[in-house]
């Protein structure tokens, strides 16, 4: 038994034992890549130690840790609401899977460089859209497409925020296909959420499964709030002293309120609602117990449409009247800037590789998923013929709403989708189906099985672009499912980026800190205490 525990997977390969190993004994779905196991079922080199530890712990330890996790999450209030079968809404502990996803250092370096490049291009695009329109004049992106996006914001035309930074916070969704290549599935430069789960997941994992970390150097994620605060302070309008930064939440009933409060707490800044903010003479203030106090940077977590009833939706109760006036006057910075939604629209996504070549004169490091524009006659016909193979997405929706997955759809659903496309081709784009990679995931009884995952790394753009190692790995907990949204049966995993000692952050890189030797402290004579004790005993 001890023999088997020590090198469990080789044992599995060499015998014809019929009961499969609970940790590695599973089949990877066809056409997919498993990130921890090879095609023949043996662990990939960077995951060997992790798999060996999991085998040593066994299914019982995993289920026990799962129970501890649920208790702790309930107590900490790390929950999300789900509607039960009787319609009542209940709090459920957030489903964190106990098996981490592991990314080798080299792979992460590629992702990081690719993302930074993409975000620089998207930022340049937003600036261009509201100023010179160079990319339009070069004939790359049609102006009619840009102005017809619902997130195109006329009121901010000609406004350039401090430092020319628009996309202060971004989170792009990456997927990995059967060929092992990373691709960008979606951009999000409005208000991407999930970073709080990255930090909470790591904290929970160190408490629940400390054994797994042994033998690995996992790069830390907990400095995100510091990075965010520094960036938000860096873009504040010039003034005396430390700028006042606030996080603006739509309210405690918002689904992402946990994250808003989390970020405010971690940064040590105020969490405000619309009723706390007021604009007087184009300057933004908050209402405090000591009267009005100036606000310099607002990290807002609500959409453009709602932030100022004078400029956007007049019926918005969540907004602050006059805020855009203050923004235009340059007395307050808003992150992300107003109007960035034009860059992450799904119809604009198609053009991002071209943007990278146009603005940065570089080749894209990360590819797009093959996308078809349905306004183009030829591409549309091609898509309609292959409707049972592709994915169709509405251009101006988010959160997985209205997504049509060809291979999973019935004939009637395909027929309806075809009619929708014919009726209004501008509303949709089509993409090739990516066979999301899998990572072994605990299935409830302590055994592991492959489940599909994506990755959302988080980047912060202040003076420079900085990306937290890893990001949020979302996992579809249902077998075979590729839908990872937490509202639709998705969970998450802790994401480890291994540190091989070469990866450096922040351009120049930080030198290794020499080993610290504690100073000599005055002698504490433990012996004296023992002596007393002995005397007392006598």
């Amino acid at each position: 038994m001890a023999q088997r525990a020590r090198n469990g997977y080789t044992y599995m390969l060499m015998t014809t034992d019929t009961s499969p190993d609970p940790i590695t004994g599973y089949a990877v779905p066809d056409g997919c890549r498993d990130e921890l196991l090879d095609a023949d079922g043996s662990p990939r080199p960077h995951a060997a130690e992790l798999i060996a530890t999991l085998q040593r712990l066994g299914p019982e330890a995993l289920t026990a840790a799962g129970r501890r996790r649920d208790t702790i999450f309930m107590q900490q209030g790390i929950t999300f609401e789900v509607a039960g079968s009787d319609g009542a809404r209940r709090d459920r502990p957030f489903p964190l899977d106990l098996v981490p996803r592991v990314l080798p250092a080299g792979e992460w370096t590629t992702i990081k460089r690719g993302l930074a490049q993409r975000i620089r291009a998207l930022n340049a695009f937003v600036d261009d859209v509201y100023h010179a329109h160079e990319i339009v004049r070069a004939g790359i992106v049609p102006w009619s497409l840009i102005v017809s996006r619902p997130s195109f914001a006329r009121p901010v035309h000609g406004i350039r925020p401090p430092g020319g930074v628009y996309c202060h916070v971004s989170g792009c969704d990456l997927v990995r296909g059967g060929d092992g290549r990373w691709r960008v599935l979606e951009d999000n430069v409005r208000t991407p959420s999930g970073i709080s789960y990255v930090l909470e997941n790591r904290l929970a994992m160190t408490r629940l499964m400390p054994e797994l970390f042994a033998g690995h150097r996992v790069r830390a994620v907990e400095n995100y709030p510091t990075l965010l605060l520094e960036s938000l302070q860096a873009v504040a309008p010039a003034g005396d002293g430390t700028p006042t930064v606030v996080v603006w939440t739509p309210g405690s009933l918002n689904a992402a309120y946990f994250e808003h409060a989390f970020l405010a707490r971690q940064m040590g800044v105020e969490l405000v609602e619309a009723s706390d903010l007021v604009v007087r003479d184009a300057v933004c203030y908050m209402r405090t117990t000591a009267g009005l106090q100036r606000v310099h940077t607002i990290y807002r977590r609500l959409d453009d449409d709602f932030i100022d009833p004078l400029e956007f939706r007049a019926d918005s109760l969540l907004g602050v009247p006059g805020l855009v006036r203050a923004y235009r006057a340059g007395t307050v910075a808003i992150a992300n800037a107003i109007g960035t939604g034009v860059a992450d629209d799904k119809a604009v996504y198609h053009y991002v590789p071209e943007m990278i070549r146009f603005y940065l004169k570089e080749e894209p490091i990360l590819d797009n998923v093959q996308t078809y524009l349905l306004t183009d006659e030829k591409q549309r016909r091609h898509v309609l013929e292959r409707l049972d193979e592709v994915v169709v997405k509405p251009t101006s929706e988010s959160g997985g709403k209205g997504v049509f997955i060809g291979p999973h759809a019935s004939a009637a659903e395909r027929q309806r989708q075809a009619e929708l496309i014919e009726g209004d081709p501008e509303r949709f784009i089509a993409q090739e189906l990516v066979h999301l990679s899998t990572v072994p995931t605990e299935t409830g009884d302590g055994r592991l099985a492959p489940r599909h995952v994506d990755l959302r790394p988080f980047a912060v753009f202040g003076d420079e672009i900085r990306i937290v190692p890893g990001g949020l790995t979302r996992v579809a907990l249902r077998e075979g499912s590729m839908i990872v949204n937490s509202s639709q049966g998705g969970g998450s995993k802790d994401t480890w980026v291994l540190d091989d000692g070469t990866a450096m952050d922040g351009g120049g890189g930080t030198p290794r800190i020499p080993v610290h030797r504690p100073p000599r402290l005055p002698d504490i004579r433990y012996g004296g205490w023992h002596g007393q004790e002995q005397q007392q005993q006598q």
Binding site: Q75, V247, S275, R287, T288, T289
Partner: protein, 328 residues
Amino acid sequence: MLARIAQELFWLGRDLTRAEHTARMLDGAFHADVAGAPGERGIALSWEGVLAIIGAKPPAPGEQATESARAPAAAFGRAEVARLLTLDTASPASVVSCVARARERGRTLRDVISIEMWEALNSFYLSLGRYDLQAALVTGPYSVYQEVKERCALFWGLAERTMLRDEGRSFLEAGGRLEEADMVLRMLRVAVPYGDGDTGDAGHEGEALAVLHAVGGLHAYRRGVRYAPTLPLVGRFLLYDSAYPASVAFAVDALRAALTNADAQPQSSPPVLRLGRLIADLELQRRTLDGAGPLAETLERVQEELEHIDRDIGDRYFAIAALAAVHL
């Protein structure tokens, strides 16, 4: 600090203290009910009295007033009152409703209070959901009240240990202290009759014991006063003795200290000034025991003054947030 947040913290403190005092009071009422009074008269601070104290309180923000809680007290006995005030989620005055409100506020304030405080609040709320009231009433709900007391103490202990001692902490403290003074005053006003309150007789001895039980101060009284508990002595102890942390004098002292910390200009703050006068008054009366007139009237005056202070706090610190709410 944001006025809205300050107000939430203030009421978080109030809701928790209200929950604790309600639990202590019910515990005391159960005790008096079972043990009976030594004299021939009934105990004023029993079921009807408890309901009168809680039922007459103005609703907290976020509290939905229901008719049942405001119903006439006369018809209520042990089973009804205990149900209404302990674990009835529909009754806004019940302990569990207070805790639910406090937890809801804590959820909004998660960025301000420490993580440990939030977890204490959250698990407090979750633990109350576990109890089956009917079963608890049969065996005596002692364990429920015990848990409420312990959880409240845990929260305040964590606040003491982990929360930054800033303006927010001061408002939390202020809310707790104001509620404490208010609850003790209400209890005393129900227990101390007008007119004959100053003549200690056997009938009042049971009342005095009940009051001490209901604030959890019997032991402190025994050590501090060293006379047999009579109603006037117990009344004075709970009103004037600033060495006892649940006394009115101690609570208003702490309230003034908290507001002085929170206010940028305490010298010109109406609630701080009023508190200064009240503290001086209490001190004067304590030292000139006979000059103060009957205890019941003093209690009434102090409570009126406390209501003024409550209004002044609202005007000075929270009105700016309320203004915004009206404009929406």
